[in-house]
Symmetry: C2
Subunit: 615 residues, 2 copies
């Protein structure tokens, strides 16, 4: 990538700041503003200035090179995409308010793309005829928009951003898996080349209908995501997906308890006047939350799971969200039973139900389905809606739970004897201290920001948008699909989060806006001559140079140099130029000490060091 190499500070536009913008709470946001890389146009809308854009383009080019290396092919669809395609796929309805919808002057619907499954699938649909064309992976690096309610942290969570999004199409799962693995490797190389420590984690893939998903996270105190990591092995997962080793007898049951000689009392209804919370109940009954079956009523949207045999299922309406999409229940209610010390993971629940979302039901809905006010739901005798039990509940043989009536609970409830759920699933929210599902080691938590995501989508879009090809035998088939995204703005900001000190940025060579900053103590006389000559020599060697020719005091130039974080600083001063071996002072931004280098060899030496780091 050719960027104009040698640039004088006074000929470019790097408006550095001493003050920190009031709304900049994270380091990258502060430093991008202070270093004159970025300015704000409006809440969540930013302009990259020349210095910021140089680094941005280097991230872009690394991503492009790694994508091309996988055989993915770059295309450029539009940013504004017909709403019709989103109606076909069903996402016009399924996506919430974060989708920026536009009507044009002819009253047609459009979408400012947040992702482009529809646009790519529509293109492929029109061109695909034979299995010989598969696999096919296409990508774009293009503007995206997400209408965030509360954009913050600078470009880490802006409204408009640039994303590389790739979409692959395959004749079979083996081919999808091959591309998925290749993308996983490419992503690892991308982040490594950017100097980033990423944590690849297992991620939820439920709501989108996929069958495999990995997120690439960077640790961040203000991260959107909670990650569970194992202290012993490599296990790492988004909390949305994380599982843990059971902390109960996996095969505990009433029969097991009985045959082990335990006394198993009969179920009993007990008065619990004025007892509202689980804590109060535990105190009242002198028991422990682990002996309580907590039961929550959930409303799920766009449920794809078949409910025809479930309690209340025969009354539910169905509809088709897209042209050829499978039928869904737009709205359905469920009771979720879980051990009293645990929380329900709503993403796991939605994934289990193949739903777009699962949210707690309103108090009115709770009363409608349980016949009691909030606080007295329980799985025993509940027949209006399906009961889903977390796996922890299957080991409970002497539990307390709500009795579907005000101020009443059941004691001595046994799973399998007193109630049988419609479905059993892993629904618990895993927390720090739980045990690793792989090795049993202790799990701990980190906050993280997602930079990339790879995803086996399966047939969701190719089916709803009716993509077909003819296989070897001439039979019409639907291809399977993967998608692979990485956010450029976030990646760049994360590089700064990982590489800075109290004085400013410390760019990795690969992403640095310039490789070398030349600071003449004064830009005049022999210092000017030497600085210009050095810049020209470095430029000749393909090295990108910024020459600080401003009429500022050296202290100001050093401070700004530290702030903008160019990897090598060369100070050209009168004193060193008059040594017996005329020299300049070379300092690595990351190191404290500088060293003298003969001016006659400085360019050659630096060029060699920099080239070695770039390759």
């Amino acid at each position: 990538m050719v960027l104009a190499y040698a640039m004088n500070f006074t000929r470019t536009f790097i408006p550095t700041l001493r003050e920190v913008p009031a709304d900049a709470v994270i380091v990258s946001h502060r430093l991008m503003f202070r270093a004159g890389m970025l300015r704000k146009l409006a809440n969540g809308l930013f302009a990259y200035l020349p210095l910021g854009l140089r680094s941005f383009k280097k991230v872009e080019q690394i991503i492009r090179e790694e994508m091309n290396a996988t055989g993915a092919l770059e295309i450029k669809p539009t940013v504004i995409v017909p709403g019709e395609l989103w109606k076909e796929s069903g996402r016009w309805d399924a996506m919430g308010a974060s989708l920026l919808r536009v009507k044009n002057r002819l009253d047609a619907d459009f979408v400012v793309s947040p992702t482009a499954e529809e646009a790519f699938t529509a293109l492929v649909r029109d061109e695909l005829s034979s299995y010989r064309q598969l696999p096919l992976t296409l990508y774009q690096i293009n503007t995206k928009y997400r209408d965030e309610i509360r954009p913050r942290y600078g470009v880490m969570r802006g409204r408009e951003f640039v994303m590389k999004d790739a979409y692959s199409y395959h004749a079979d799962d083996a081919s999808l898996d091959e591309t998925y693995q290749a993308m996983g490797q490419a992503y690892r190389r991308i982040f490594k080349r950017c100097g980033l420590s990423v944590i690849p984690v297992k991620a939820d893939s439920g709501a989108m209908g996929g069958s495999g998903s990995e997120e690439f996270m960077v640790e961040s105190a203000v991260g959107d995501n909670t990650l569970l990591l194992c202290k012993t092995c490599e296990y790492a997962a988004n909390v949305e997906k994380a599982t843990c080793k059971p902390d109960f007898e996996a095969h505990a049951s009433l029969e097991a308890a009985k045959s082990a000689g335990a006394s198993v009392p009969e179920i009993e209804k007990i008065d619990t006047p004025a007892v509202k919370t689980i804590q109060e109940l535990c105190a009242f009954l002198k028991t422990d939350a682990k002996r309580f079956i907590k039961t929550l009523i959930y409303k799920a949207l766009n449920v794809e799971l078949d409910l025809s045999g479930a309690p209340g299922g025969e009354k539910l309406e169905k509809r088709k969200p897209g042209t050829d999409a499978p039928e869904v229940y737009p709205e359905a209610f469920f009771a979720v039973a879980i051990r009293g010390d645990l929380d329900v993971n709503e993403v796991k629940l939605a994934s289990t139900l193949k739903a777009s979302e699962a949210v707690l039901a309103s108090d009115a809905d709770v009363a409608r389905f349980t016949g009691a006010p909030v606080g007295f739901a329980g799985p025993v005798g509940l027949s209006a809606i399906p009961v889903i039990a977390d796996t922890t509940v299957t080991a409970m043989t002497d539990a307390v739970t709500g009795a579907l009536a005000q101020d009443l609970h059941y004691a001595h409830v046994a799973y399998g004897r007193d109630f049988v759920p419609w479905l059993i699933a892993d629904l618990r929210t895993v927390i720090a201290g739980d045990r690793c599902p792989q090795c049993g080691g202790e799990l701990y938590e980190k906050k993280g920001n997602e930079l990339g995501h790879i995803f086996k989508l399966g047939y969701k879009y190719t089916q709803s948008m009716q993509v077909r090809y003819l296989d070897e035998t001439g039979k019409s088939r639907i291809p399977t699909m993967g998608c692979y995204g990485v956010g450029l703005d976030r990646t760049l900001a994360s590089v700064i989060e990982e590489h800075h000190d109290e004085n400013g940025i410390l760019w990795p060579m690969t992403i640095a806006p310039y490789h070398v900053l030349i600071i003449p103590v004064k830009y005049e006389g022999t210092m000017k001559v030497a600085a210009d000559k050095l810049a020209a020599e470095l430029e000749q060697a393909g090295i990108e140079v910024l020459l600080d020719d401003r009429p500022e005091r050296p202290g100001v130039k050093f401070k700004d140099g530290d702030l903008i974080g160019i990897p090598y600083r060369v100070v050209v001063g009168d004193k060193n130029l008059t040594l017996s071996t005329p020299s300049v002072e070379v300092k690595r931004r990351s190191e404290k000490e500088s060293r003298l280098a003969p001016v006659s060899k400085a360019a050659e030496e630096l060029a060699a060091l920099i080239r070695a780091e770039l390759h």
Copy 2:
């Protein structure tokens, strides 16, 4: 710019077509689809496929290099821009329905940028403090949107497109002029490097408040613009701006006529029953359209010209369209008098009035201001609105015109005696056959498409958006401004319009998606070995190669090769490989004859030829 060099046809995605899309009426639209460069997502929205994107990026890179060479600095603002900025500048109201407006979830107004005067000026406003920062030229190469009612001709007039738009800020006119001239030179180099013959023409700069404007046009049968060119000299102008040498006695007047001894009769009212058109009137009076003063009533919008002393001016409302913008009359009416054989140029009229637009008034408005039905307007005695006379009228001493009453005209009307206009201006539409204003040569017409436009904006935006800097003396001043745009999609399509034959595209080397197409007669045995080796050697030499490894008949590959138009074609065939000097067949796309080249030297020879053409 590094593009993956050697690519096999079966590993990329070039879906060539035999059929021409039904809606493709121009060559570039047809060929971009047939060559597999482009596909349609919706009306006016296109996706560049891999082959198209390669050429697109070469256009982009040429533009970037030439911009950087002028000292302009690339930045990247957002595509979606706050509506607030457009309200400040006044364009929120002034722009018509082609501006795509969006409301976000918080009910705030946004604009999908068609140009970015506001965003750039807002950025500069926040950073500008001293004259030392000027001049400053910033640019972006970014997505734009224009909500065309009838998009057509493929990417030549699409809704979403990519534009390079630069904006410059200056302390004085001399500095603006210097940048304006440098941009004019850069644009000439850009189009030359793309292999395009452009016609730089003088353009209108009135409505935008500027003081100099040049458009870069390519000839096109379906062009949006009419150009007037001189057969003798270099004069070229958009019809919106074109002037001509007067075809009347410049200093003719009543006095001159009298002193020349002409008989000048007194004005006389005549009955003209049932005479409606100028033709009918000419026949009725046995005279010629040139002796008629045609008078048209116009409605002008957002008029900046001071009308306080004009007829009816005292009653007009005023308002401020932007924060610090000059006051305008939102709506004002004018009578325009012009020689009967000529047409009024509405762009010249709007420019004269400093109005955003001028349109013919409704019949009701005509009746309201002239007191007569349409067809009887005239400058004599018209006092309700200002009369503006085209310069041709000033030479009319014995003319016919409407008498402001049904079925009545005036004869023997003399300019200056019988009426005095409020304003005299050049308002005629120049046509083929008129005389060049520079040399008097004959003008002729061409249809053209605008690829680029450079423009002295003056103070329009910097004033309304309150940009200030301190000059050498510490005085607060407003900078002056220029803007400079070029459409990338149109430029690319125009290259194809200029470089094609009946079989397909003939790419100039600089824009070609690949430099060399290698076609093995069959991709097997020694032919495969030789083709792969040649591709590798060319790749090594930095040459971009497409190798057609498809299991197709040679005829199919030759046809596709001609269609996609790669400059050099190398055919690797068994027969030539077994000659005493094993050879391949090299053919230039633009030439009929091929020649044999020794396979051992083919790569080296081709690389030298191509490099020479690229530099």
